[in-house]
């Protein structure tokens, strides 16, 4: 059957972290998972989420694996690393959100430093996607984990001059965040590489929609970015991609609702775990390289999926 495609493009490789435990993503020479017509030297990797303050609104199934560490970001990160074998840690600075904690960059810098010093695996640090607030917070966060070659995000069109510049200045990578839009994703990549950040230091955050909550938009934008990267050799689409899956999935109504409230929906943990695993695997099919996830069981399913499809 002569239907194999040949591609003239390739995804760039990007390395997060330094030394033995650095993680490289990207490098694919075909559409995602199409191992029959290309190579994928680096498999999709999983970062587990850690929050800078104890989350108040998580459903029981998500709390259970972390119940003993939720109020201590360092212990939490170590548990993800040692017990759940995360490839990376994604520290979310949720408490800096102006409408909840509104903590400042100076407030969270010690937390970023403590977590980054405690873990061996690479670090991702994420703000709250509030462009003004992140412009104040993220340079402090980037400084606090200087020397770790972390991934700093999200970089918005409105604050790239500050946030991407901080990533550059403190020798990190940056995650430009575009609102489910191919052209804005490309434009933002152009802007931040013009600032001086090497394209190998850029990971695209295309905006993640959970299953049932915009997954299809995210899936198609990522698929389009990958097609442009592989078939049109479009340089500004050839960066690896990151998806914030955990925080989107675990606020979905179908995930949060206990079985007692909706008996017809079945066991809440099974439902939530599969909701997260299906979101993750669908986005791997669309081209995701770094999956930021929450539930260890969903992580396990996603790993098995990657192993079965790429092994």
């Amino acid at each position: 059957m002569e239907v194999k495609e040949t591609y003239n493009g390739k995804i760039r490789e990007a390395t997060i972290g330094l030394g033995d435990t650095a993680v490289t993503v990207g490098g694919e020479t075909s559409l995602p998972l199409y191992m029959f017509e290309g190579t994928a030297p680096n498999k999709p990797v999983i970062a587990l989420e850690v929050y800078d303050t104890k989350p108040e609104d998580w459903p029981e199934a998500a709390v259970a694996p972390y119940a003993d560490v939720l109020d201590d970001p360092v212990k939490w990160a170590l548990k993800c690393q040692d017990e759940y074998k995360a490839d990376m840690i994604c520290l979310n600075l949720a408490s800096t959100n102006p409408s909840t904690g509104d903590r400042t960059g100076a407030d969270i810098a010690p937390i970023v430093k403590a977590v980054s010093d405690a873990i061996k695996i690479p670090l991702i640090v994420y703000g709250t996607a509030n462009a003004d607030k992140d412009a104040e917070v993220m340079p402090k966060a980037a400084e606090a984990c200087q020397g770790k070659r972390a991934l700093i995000g999200p970089v918005e069109e409105e604050n790239y001059k500050t946030v991407a510049a901080a990533a550059l200045g403190f020798d990190h990578l940056a995650a430009p965040h575009s609102p489910i839009d191919v052209n804005i994703a490309k434009q933002l990549n152009i802007l931040i590489t013009q600032l001086g950040l090497a394209p190998e230091r850029v990971i695209i955050d295309p905006t993640t929609g959970a299953l049932g909550y915009g997954l299809e938009y995210c899936y198609s934008v990522m698929e389009r970015l990958r097609l442009a990267a592989m078939t049109q050799n479009d340089s500004m689409t050839q960066m690896p991609m990151i998806n914030q899956i955990g925080r989107e999935v675990w606020k979905a109504k179908e995930v949060k609702t206990p079985e007692a409230d909706e008996p017809a929906w079945g066991d809440a943990e099974t439902r939530g775990v599969l909701w997260e695993a299906l979101t993750a695997t669908a986005l791997i099919m669309a081209g995701s390289n770094i999956l930021v996830m929450r539930h260890p069981k969903a992580v396990e399913l996603t790993r098995q999926f990657v192993a079965a499809l790429t092994g």
Partner: protein
């Protein structure tokens, strides 16, 4: 695939007699290509030309109907490799497989799931679609007894699964004339299976060995026997190989016009792993990548619901976003003092906003305005979410009878219109809500206190 006017013109008599109502054969051909005329309009068309044209204009992947009546399902008929190019048309279907080696309680449980696994979401009815009935024992009497039991218990169309044509023949009789999917024809039994498919007007699955060239040869013989409604099983039983075959089948059909592969597919995640969670994950792979009939070991609600929602997402027309019905949505038993919010009827906006309101545990009234399925910003830019439209909506939707206060919370992105809206919306105060849905819970908590 769509034929060009020139392709059609070549087959016409080229006499320019005008009997079709257009002066020339070329003009008539152009009209057909544009979908403005039917081939039958030319009374002088030779039979050969007519069949060549109708074959050439057939869709690259045939749409196949399984079952009869209201519960019949249609699969296949797809035109693109990637959903953003147009859309995926006919949603894939799922089936739990019941076999004649199961005890009565297991069978009853699966039948109950088959009937009860239904969810309504965005005004769509989500369900599996089919039920698989499999002969494990090879005993025809047991197989037909099971088919009769399934037929009595559910109206969902069946997939009759057995390699023995004699058992399938008995099974088809037991199923009545319900056009079940026959699974499956192989190189060894295809003549008998093809005859049964024709006699009982049932679609026929063809099971390969993993080798697509061999599958093409087998399908060619079955098509030559006259069978038109075919479903392809590439024959692989691990997800890596299955994905490869499904991609090749879809590409061969769409890009190379291999008509033997221009059919929907059937896949078996239930046979690719023992772990039911992994089974669901592989099923998800086939929802996105070219599975049409997806066989499962059961329809446990906690696994079926996420799969049905994934199917709903993937098969949504990217050009026509899903909409929710405009109106008042009460969230968490609101009272006459509860806050009133307004948003667009783009289903995604509705889901996210209503989810955050619910998560806040502050009861509220969510007024969903008809913005033709556009999001808040897009509909505002298009002039559909502006004071001239909001005023009659709020005055007419009945919210003034539900609440004592007159405070309307608008999306933060529409802050610039708050003054104008307050002037025009008589008796109401307009409050600017958060820009991001995630900030709704703290906003509502402070509103309520």
């Amino acid at each position: 695939m769509a034929l060009t006017g020139i392709d059609i013109f070549k087959q016409l008599p080229k006499t320019n007699c005008g009997d079709c109502g257009v002066p020339t054969c070329l003009a008539f051909a152009m009209k057909i290509a544009a979908g403005q005329a039917e081939l039958a309009g030319c009374p002088h068309l030779s039979e050969d030309a007519a069949s060549a044209l109708s074959e050439a204009s057939a869709p690259p992947i045939r749409a196949v109907t399984i079952g009869v009546g209201e519960d019949a399902v249609k699969v296949g008929g797809e035109l693109v490799l990637y959903r953003h190019e147009k859309t995926f048309f006919n949603p894939c279907v799922f089936a739990a497989v019941i076999d004649d080696g199961m005890d009565a309680a297991t069978i009853d449980g699966l039948l109950k799931q088959t009937n009860e696994s239904r969810f309504v979401r965005v005004e769509q009815d989500l369900k599996a679609g089919l039920v698989g009935v499999k002969s494990l024992s090879g005993d025809t009497a047991k197989f037909t007894a099971l088919i009769e039991k399934v037929k009595a218990a559910t109206t969902q169309p069946m997939v009759l699964m057995c390699g023995d044509p004699a058992a399938i023949e008995a099974g088809l009789k037991a199923a009545g004339e319900t056009s079940p999917l026959i699974y499956a024809a192989t190189a060894d039994n295809y003549e008998a299976m093809a005859a049964l498919a024709l006699e009982h007007k049932a679609p026929l699955a063809v099971c390969g060995t993993g080798d697509l060239d061999a599958l093409v040869e087998l399908v060619k013989k079955i098509m030559a026997a006259g069978v038109k409604d075919i479903v392809l099983d590439p024959g692989t039983r691990n997800p890596k190989d299955t994905l490869e075959r499904l991609v090749y089948i879809r590409r061969a059909a769409l890009n190379k016009k291999v008509k033997e592969l221009g059919f929907p597919t059937i896949v078996f995640p239930n046979e690719e792993t023992e772990d039911k969670m992994m089974e669901a994950v592989y099923a998800g792979l086939y929802v996105g990548k070219y599975g049409s009939v997806i066989m499962l070991s059961d329809l446990n609600a906690a696994r079926a619901l996420p799969l049905y929602v994934l199917r709903q997402n993937i098969y949504t027309d990217p050009q026509r976003p899903m909409q929710v019905k405009p109106g008042i949505y009460p969230i968490g038993n609101p009272t006459a003092d509860s806050p009133v919010l307004i948003t667009s009827n783009f289903s995604l906006t509705y889901f996210i906003v209503s989810g955050e309101v619910e998560g806040s545990r502050v009861p509220a009234w969510l007024c969903v305005m008809d913005t033709e399925g556009l999001s808040v910003m897009t509909s505002w830019a298009a002039g559909k979410f502006v004071p001239e439209k909001i005023v009659p909506f709020i005055k007419g939707v009945g919210i003034e009878e539900k609440v004592k206060h007159r405070k309307l919370v608008i999306p933060g992105y529409l802050a610039t219109m708050s003054g104008e809206l307050e002037d025009e919306l008589e008796g109401w105060n307009v409050e600017v809500g958060p820009r991001e849905a995630a900030d709704i819970p703290p906003f509502l908590k402070s509103w309520a206190s």
